[in-house]
Point group: C2
Chain length 135, copies 2
Amino acid sequence: MDEREAVDRLASARVARLATADAGGMPHVVPFVFVLLDRTIYWAVDEKPKRSPRLKRLENIAANPNVAVVADHYEEDWSKLWWVRASGIARVVGEETERTRALEALAAKYPQDRDAPPDGPVVAVDVVRIGWWTA
Amino acid sequence: MDEREAVDRLASARVARLATADAGGMPHVVPFVFVLLDRTIYWAVDEKPKRSPRLKRLENIAANPNVAVVADHYEEDWSKLWWVRASGIARVVGEETERTRALEALAAKYPQDRDAPPDGPVVAVDVVRIGWWTA
């Protein structure tokens, strides 16, 4: 795998996992759906179900914007395992144009979002470093 | 889902993701295979392929033993999504009996490990809190 391939695999992944840490360094991790546009990962907060775990991510990011994201492939044939990890800096998207672009990209990738688009904040993770591993 | 069901789903998951953070609160996340015995998650470091990303987890744990683990189910029908998260304290297993028990449980869960068992440290995560979410 080279960096272009790693970026492609990350962009194509249907789900990834987002790790944050609070100001005290306590880690938190949650699966999330996202899009990768250029070198920025976007995800949107859907306020509807179960607010608190989603808001925990936002609290952590407000206290400590460093995040790590991993997309991976698991199967029982371990010779086929791989993962791609992106480390970056998270920010809540304030600009309406950027927010709209992210929500449109999310709706294009995930038809599930089209009927009831997320109504909470959109978060951008500006990717600083990409790493990867293959078995 | 109740806590017993959450624990069962975590124990049965073939892969989960481990989030750690270094002393400066920089998060790190990686997929990993593991076993859950009572309230302790065990995983073993296989030194053979690509040392550094695996050792990074160990460095982080030495600096900050707080970790979070998430096992989740993704499918395109989002009404079937779920995740289970365990937060806990990590420690390298020093006692030989505990190490052997963990490696045997890993080999029982993962036939892939039987031919070439991991030869690095075994890490225990004593689970402090279990959380879960279903769509």
